[in-house]
Symmetry: C2
Subunit: 404 residues, 2 copies
């Protein structure tokens, strides 16, 4: 079968091995902090923001949160997917690889696989729907990949992939539903943990001092976006046993919160179909089978939370305008959860208490266009106006009761 091998166990030490293999090929992406956003996260939402939710009329949560952003938008190809692709290929011999690799993707995985294949000097065949945007087709071709068009349904795409394998003998490298991809994505978790420890060690003022004792010398929690679940399950695998809690975040629009729903079912079961046009276009996929095993393990992933399109837009505006960091909508669902999901905020208030938590937030990628941003923000929304009005453009001081 022309598929990559499936032998590594999903453990922290496998992620460490993966990290050694891919280090020469990927960036150790930087950690950003933002006083403004940490203050905003530590400010209760306005009572109005809770209207129409089950928290309506209750006192808004007041968690204490210090944010550490893992900027995977600065990763090679502009998104974390480079990690998984390089790792999957690193696990294959030159012989296994000589006929090339194939996948179906119109997004970041396509570019990641194309780059990894070029680095190994083997052909990459990328099956993309005919309706893909010209910029994504051009980007994938720019890494030297052969783009092969298909229809838009998963059946049509898979038929074309099968045909390519038949014709070329290429090895299939799936975007998320494979241990080597999961282990590769998990490497960001190792970096994030070490970088924040380093940062807090060097700059103790960023940590919390409790009386005369310094308590927080590292992360208390990490939150990542969840689409197919490769990143979330990888980071959870990487941080397993460290005491750092791992959370996932999804868009709620049109049922893209399949992981959250699957976990809430009794008994929990994987949702296998998603048809959502959420603006977080990297997260329109259901969680894959192998990621689901990790995500549904309470010891590995503490919970998955969902946010609305407006919350994603508001969080994206903050990252662009305040942090001056260019991100795609999918990248900010973790931050949107921290800022606007009252259930998550209550959990932090309850568990972190007065001391608060250091939360690592993964900004997963930056592959969007100015036209896409124009489309998202062309008509100012009421909440955007409100946030802009209350906060100003650059203010470090944050008014109380900023709405979500």
């Amino acid at each position: 079968m022309a598929d990559i091998s499936q032998t590594r166990p999903l453990t922290r030490s496998s992620v460490k091995e993966a990290h050694e293999l891919i280090k020469p090929h990927i960036h150790e992406t930087p950690i950003d902090t933002s006083t403004t956003l940490s203050k905003l996260a530590s400010t209760p939402q306005s009572p109005e923001a809770l209207k129409g939710t089950i928290y309506d009329g209750q006192t808004p949560a007041k968690p204490k949160i210090r944010l550490f952003f893992k900027c995977e938008n600065y990763q090679k190809i502009g998104a974390f997917k480079a990690r998984g692709a390089f790792h999957a290929l690193a696990r294959l011999s030159d012989e296994e690889l000589e006929k090339g690799v194939v996948t179906h993707s119109s997004g970041n995985h396509a570019q990641a696989l194309a780059l990894a294949a070029r680095t190994r000097g083997v052909p990459a065949y990328i099956v993309m729907p005919t309706i893909s945007t010209p910029s994504k087709i051009a980007a994938t071709k720019s890494y030297g990949a052969s783009v092969i068009f298909s229809g838009s349904t998963s059946q049509e795409r898979e038929a074309v992939v099968a045909e390519v394998i038949e014709r070329t003998g290429a090895v299939l490298v799936p975007p998320y539903d494979h241990p080597d991809i999961i282990l590769g994505q998990g490497t960001m978790g190792l970096e994030l943990q070490a970088q924040v420890e380093d940062l807090l060690g060097k700059k103790p003022e960023l940590g919390v001092r409790h009386g005369r004792e310094r308590r927080h010398e590292g992360l208390d929690a990490v939150i990542t976006p969840c689409g197919g679940g490769g990143m979330l399950s990888g980071v959870a695998t990487a941080l397993s046993g460290t005491g750092i809690r791992v959370f996932g975040a999804e868009p709620s629009f049109e049922g893209a919160d399949d992981a959250r729903k699957g976990l809430a079912a009794n008994p929990p079961r994987r949702v296998t179909t998603v048809k959502s046009l959420t603006i977080a276009d990297g997260l329109r996929t259901p969680v894959g089978k192998i990621p689901w095993k990790v995500i549904s393990n309470k010891d590995k992933v503490r919970g998955v939370f969902a946010v609305s399109e407006e919350m994603i837009k508001d969080a994206m505006r903050l990252v662009l305008e305040r942090m001056k960091v260019f991100v795609e909508p999918s990248a900010v669902v973790g931050l949107a959860t921290v800022l606007y999901n009252e259930e998550f905020r209550r959990l932090v208030e309850r568990e972190a208490g007065e001391e608060g938590w250091n939360i690592g937030v993964v900004l997963s990628g930056g592959n969007t266009t100015v036209e896409a941003i124009a489309k998202i923000f062309a008509a100012p929304t009421e909440s955007a106006e409100r946030a802009g009005g209350v906060l100003g453009m650059q203010g470090e001081r944050v008014a109380e009761n900023v709405a979500g």
Copy 2:
């Protein structure tokens, strides 16, 4: 007279003194590099891009350029203006300052002065036109400044400023036409020089090796945007005597290229009025009297170049989509010059030869909004489509003959 003192000479050592004074208050902003943009800068423009210019029909220049971006968008308040404001205030005693400071500005200088005043614990009075955007008013207020409204003409603004001085005894801190402001802005030049030397020392592969000898261990040139001229004259002062050539860049739209035109006049003379609505809204001002003395000195500023609105848009797209760095339009006129101004590119080809130049490009600020970006990029322009099509979205490989 309620104005800040004017005693420091405009020399490199004065800039070094300014740097020592403001270091505790400002960020040493990072240097970014981009293989993609350096390759693009080293690729000749398409013959079509030269149509209608005096270079029409000639062979496009092929300069060799390695780019080093000074990211002042990550400076406090989101722009370089914090440097000048902190320096101007550092030069005043608590006694001189006790009645506060005043300026007229609707832009970055307003926020910079408000922050510097708050840090010193004195009031800031900011005179803004009634028609200023609500987000800018809110941003200035968020730093604790008192915003006072005026009409839009310079006479109306100055009348209100005079009235505030009369009433409060506040000290006037102008946005650019003052030695202490110029010296403050110049501090970025010192950092840029040292950071690039450090970077090239640590990573020799970024420098050029010529035979067995390493030639380039630092910058050959720096280019900054030029509006009122505080930054350009400050950087030129800072780098005076170092051998690093300093250039300025302006928008050509509706005569915003007043410095270029003034220098081209015979004899050179300062243009005192500009009425331009260029998208580079920080650069709609004529060069001030004191900056002009530096800018018109050929030993300090080698030349000033102008770029079209389309070139600014194309450069901004590249910085956002490729570098993932959020900038305002004014910030990219230097990069636009390097990529698309054929006169500048010929100069580099001629002077730098085979070895090429290491060029420091100042990205001066990032204070814009998603709505402003939506307005600029809502309708894709032909050149944008062309650039996107040729380059793809993330490609590190750059096709030849990319259009400007």
